[in-house]
Amino acid sequence: MMACSQRFCPLHKITLILAVAALIGVGRNLFLPNSIPWTQKWSDIAVSRALEEGLTVFSLEETRNAVESGSHFLFDARATEEYDLGHIPTAMSLPIKDFDIVFDQFSAMLTPDFPVLVYCSGKECDESIDLAVRLRDLGHTNLVVYTGGYIEWSAAEVVE
């Protein structure tokens, strides 16, 4: 062998380990719960899932207007630690994983038709979509998703 001599990295054993790992990975995905598609569109997952779910998507500009006019109730779907590090002004923290515990405190303030805007970190997250779907299941009808998320928002703040 050239770069990798048989003594230092025995190729047949390494190949065997890699092949067994690949088999376990494939088998795991075929036969065990929580399987995932073999390939998936990850970039812009927020937009594609929003469209799939029939949710309205807001741009940065529309979100700015919503924040300035106070037309929407804003929910940040990211983890609390991320919200604490920075969030869109007036947004409330509603991490999707703590939805059942946290949402109670907001439900009294929100009528089902009050406009609600949700966001998460950016184009590669879909917690905002999950949150919108949960809210829709509870009867909220006026939901929009800001798919640019906090990454786009904070980048735009820095530029100005």
Binding site: R7, F8, C9, P10, K13, I14, I17, L18, V20, A21, A22, I24, G25, V26, R28, N29, N34, S35, I36, P37, W38, T39, Q40, K41, W42, S43, I45, R78, A79, E81, E82, P95, K97, E124, C125
Partner: protein, 142 residues
């Protein structure tokens, strides 16, 4: 063989094996979250992300197990662990260089997972040294 080889390296091997098995657990039961973490690194193309999310956890678990239990495969497992650690560390370093603030996804894939940063790099550097020691010893004794 000196005392270091006799006492310290087997302990390092034990630690590395356990760490890799532990690190694989959450990723094995929840590949979707792990795939999301990989996508946030923004390194791999979309088509490769889910495949890697399915392939890496069993590879980590298998190498950890072989390192602990099967002497004939010890050198190969140590070599693969070393290779994985180098790739992971490079990915973390590249994310820091680009200023992407993401969770590392090393042990768990949730929001509470450790962020990428110098602490993680230092941890990985220590594990790389341990993997080298384990690999060299495995080559000698097989």
């Amino acid at each position: 063989m000196n005392r270091v080889g006799f006492y310290i390296v087997p302990l390092l091997r034990l630690a590395l094996g356990v760490i890799f098995i532990a690190a694989s657990y959450h990723k094995l039961i929840d590949p979707a979250s792990f795939a999301k973490v990989i996508s946030q690194y923004q390194i791999l193309p979309d088509a490769a992300i889910n495949m890697v999310a399915l392939f890496l956890p069993p590879l980590e678990a298998l190498c950890g197990l072989l390192l602990l239990l099967w002497p004939r495969f010890r050198a190969s497992a140590a070599f693969l662990i070393l290779a994985m650690l180098i790739v992971f560390t490079a990915a973390i370093g590249y994310s820091m260089y680009r200023g992407i603030d993401i969770s590392c996804g090393c042990f768990s894939s949730g929001g509470a997972s450790m962020r990428v940063g110098w602490t993680k790099i230092a941890e990985n550097a220590a594990m790389i040294l341990a993997a080298i020691a384990v690999w060299i010893q495995a080559l000698r004794v097989r």
